[in-house]
């Protein structure tokens, strides 16, 4: 009698446990996001958050993660007083690495923030996938990346699905010469790491492709009046203007003042830093430049025309009722990389710490190829994507809505 009682108890316990398991859908694992969610950066971050959430939601619904359910949690904000902030990013990484339930992290948006974050996630061995960082120094040893991942220089933890500024800058030069057919460039940058770096890359390639840089200037983001610089540049007769920087460091204001000094007809090209949302959103390049935005082009360091685009757009619109913009597709792709790594890693089992390590180890392995919506990609030994494509977008005409895809340059085929 006694024995059977115990058996019943055990059976009940097993039943209850099983039921519990069934209702929660197995074990859960957290995927964290870190992006600037305030001020002008918010317009660039929201599409990424949407992309990641969509990918995770679809994967959970489809099952196939070997009994695991993923949650997007926590969504960390690396902005301070309305602008992205490296120290806030570093603080967020401390939070993330100390939460053992977090299996991987997606973000950040800005290279300067990544530079402060990678040392922390690298030490802890937490996989980080960025949908938007383009600074070459974050990954490539010849640009000083070993200083950033000095705790585990060979056990990398940081990958990105966008290509780098040493591709983005030159791509703009090739676009100016072969698509726009322009040969005389005026180049101005915001004197910051990203802006000056990418402008330098543009200048080098523009010269190599047979163009002439008629003038080269730099003006810090505190500048409000660019008319003197632009008047001087106009006198040199450029037929294209390249700006190295972001909207917050003068991108839109320069374009606006170009119109004022009579340079509205000269095409204007900027990097991904000026592709930050629609005409109607306050604080974006298109909004600040206003009527002068016509004839402006911006690049994204990622593929713009991919086979799954139509399908992705449909699903995205169905979920959010807005069009996917900026880096929403790369956010989705980052989530796909993480999902695949999780799927493979959970078969090895182990506790949270072991799981985190197997996710990292699987994801960064150069021999693994990922089927993402951007196409099939793999990462090299530094964590850079094999897809070396930069795409170009044109300001909408008439001035309404978002940037319109124009063309793309593929460096892998060169």
């Amino acid at each position: 009698m006694k024995f059977s009682k115990v058996a019943v108890l055990a059976a009940t316990a097993a039943l209850v446990f099983g039921a519990c398991n069934a209702t929660t859908g197995g074990k859960t694992l957290k995927i964290a996001i870190d992006l600037p969610l305030q001020g002008s950066d918010k317009a660039a971050s929201d599409p990424i958050v949407n992309g990641v959430k969509l990918a995770i939601k679809e994967a959970n619904a489809a099952g196939g993660l070997n009994g695991y359910t993923l949650t997007v949690d926590p969504i960390l904000d690396d902005a301070l007083n309305g602008a992205h902030d490296a120290q806030t990013g570093a603080k967020n990484m401390q939070t993330a690495v100390n939460d053992s339930a977090i299996g991987a992290l997606i973000g950040p948006l800005n290279s300067s923030v990544a530079k402060a974050e990678i040392p922390i996630t690298n030490k802890a061995g937490l996989l980080q996938c960025s949908p938007a960082n383009t600074n070459e120094g974050l990954t490539k040893p010849q640009f000083g990346a070993l200083d950033i991942r000095k705790d585990n220089p060979t056990k990398i933890n940081y990958v990105r699905v966008v290509t780098t500024d040493d591709k983005q800058g030159p791509a703009a030069a090739q676009f100016a010469i072969s698509v726009l057919k322009k040969t005389k460039a005026y180049v101005i940058d915001d004197t910051e790491t990203f802006g000056k770096g990418i402008a330098d890359n543009f200048v080098k390639e523009f010269g190599a492709e047979g163009g002439t840089v008629v003038a080269r200037d730099g003006a810090p983001k505190s500048t409000t009046d660019y008319t003197a610089l632009l008047t001087a540049a106009k006198a040199k007769g450029p037929d294209v203007v390249y700006f190295g920087g972001v909207t917050a460091t003068g991108g839109g204001i320069i374009r606006k003042q170009m119109a004022q000094v009579g340079m509205a007809d000269i095409p204007y090209i900027g990097p991904d830093g000026i592709q930050d949302g629609t005409v109607e959103t306050s604080g974006t390049f298109l909004n600040i430049a206003g009527d002068a935005a016509k004839g402006s082009y911006s690049s994204l360091a990622a593929i713009g025309d991919f086979p799954a685009k139509k399908d992705f757009t449909d699903r995205y619109v169905k979920e959010y009722n807005v069009n996917p913009t900026g880096y929403s597709a790369t956010g989705y792709a980052c989530a796909q990389v993480v999902l695949e790594a999780v799927k493979q890693a959970v078969t090895k089992g182990g506790d949270n710490a072991a799981l985190r390590e197997s996710i990292r180890a699987y994801a960064v392995d150069p021999s693994h190829t990922y089927k993402t919506i951007l196409g099939d990609i793999h990462f090299d030994e530094n964590g850079d994507t094999s897809q070396l494509i930069v795409s170009f977008y044109k300001a909408p005409d008439p001035l309404k809505g978002d940037w319109v895809f124009d063309s793309q340059v593929d460096f892998a085929k060169k």
């Binding site: 002008s40 309305g82 200037d217 505190s222 008319t227 003197a228 610089l229 917050a248 600040i288």
Partner: protein
């Protein structure tokens, strides 16, 4: 015997006029030199930029002349002025672009300038009353730190109300309308700004030189105790100084918005810094000096930018400032109002 007496009678020539004429000639030579160096188009840019700096610099120099305070919040009053004008035109008057009808344009400009200048002068007087007057007899560092604090408060208020990104301001005067003038194609908005700045400066000059309150200001600058004994109301005089200085900063804010079409929460810092430099360059406490200092800095910046040294423009401006202060510690034009260092 006749000769020396003639020399004696000839001596007290009206020094004031000859000094003004001298300055006028110097200013003309300066403009002509730059006209040759950077071309007519850039001279127009420099005069516009200089006019904005000069209007802000006047507020710094007047306050310093009267109470020896470097009012660091002054640049942010200028920034608030730009936002008041932005809010007034877009949200209250519902205007989002240029106005081509001259009568409507004039009326709008009068309303915008009047309201903005009134608002910033109230702000300036309130800052003086709440933050500086209680500290008037405190050690000099206390009001200085307070001024920096007020500057941060104003910046954060603007950040909170208008957000961190640049905010579009309607360019009321169509920036595409140009006038061919002395070999340059100058936008009407540039001409308007320059003329308005000169008119405001002359009005200030008349006010300080010809009115009772102006005389009270000058006497307070020379010796507050003695002027108080002579019946000058010290608090009123100081409040009027803040009122005028802040009104001019507000005008500069409106001008900046109309000219460049945007306002941002932190641009008071840069504008304030350059204007403060202009005031020191001209001789702080000296209104004519501050105005000319503003134009000099405008010219230096534009010259640097037009010659391809844009990256160095701030270094050039401050090198000139240091060089001037080494040889003329009281600034280029000395201290006209204040007698104290």
């Amino acid at each position: 015997m006749a000769a020396p007496s003639a020399a004696l009678t000839a001596r007290p020539t009206p020094v004031r006029i000859s000094r003004n004429v001298r300055m006028g000639i110097l200013a003309m030579l300066w403009v002509v030199a730059f006209y040759a160096l950077i071309g007519p188009q850039q001279v127009a840019n420099a005069l516009t930029l200089g006019a904005i700096y000069a209007l802000i610099a006047l507020g710094y120099t007047m306050v310093y002349g009267i109470i020896e305070l470097i009012n660091f919040a002054h640049g942010d009053v200028f920034m608030i002025g730009a936002f008041v004008a932005m809010f007034l035109t877009t949200n209250v008057l519902g205007i989002h672009g240029s106005i081509n009808d001259p009568i409507r344009l004039t009326v709008t400009l009068v309303i915008v300038f009047a309201v903005t200048m009134t608002a910033t002068s109230i702000l300036g007087v309130a800052i003086e009353r709440l933050a500086y007057r209680p500290l008037r007899h405190a050690p000099r560092l206390a009001p200085l730190i307070t001024a920096i604090g007020v500057s941060f408060i104003l910046q954060n208020v603007a950040l909170f109300l208008f957000g961190p990104a640049s905010v579009n301001t309607p360019q009321l005067i169509n920036p595409g309308l140009h006038l061919d003038l002395l070999g340059a194609s100058v936008a009407y908005v540039n001409i308007f700004i320059f003329v308005l700045a000169i008119v405001l400066m002359f009005a200030l000059n008349l006010f300080v030189g010809r009115t009772r309150l102006g005389r009270a200001m000058r006497s307070t600058a020379q010796d507050p105790q003695a002027s108080q004994l002579m019946g000058v109301d010290l608090n009123q005089t100081i409040a009027v100084t803040f009122l005028i200085g802040s009104a001019l900063a507000g005008a500069a804010g409106v001008i900046q918005g109309i000219y460049l079409g945007s306002a941002k929460w932190d641009f008071g810092f840069n504008g304030g810094l350059k204007a403060f430099t202009a005031a020191v360059l001209g001789g702080i406490g000296n209104t004519t000096g501050a105005a000319l200092g503003g134009f000099i800095i405008g010219f230096l910046e534009v010259a640097a930018a037009s010659k391809g040294y844009g990256r160095w423009s701030e270094a050039i401006v401050f090198s000139v400032l240091i060089a001037v202060l080494i040889f003329r510690p009281a600034g280029l034009f000395g201290q006209q109002i204040g007698e104290r260092a």
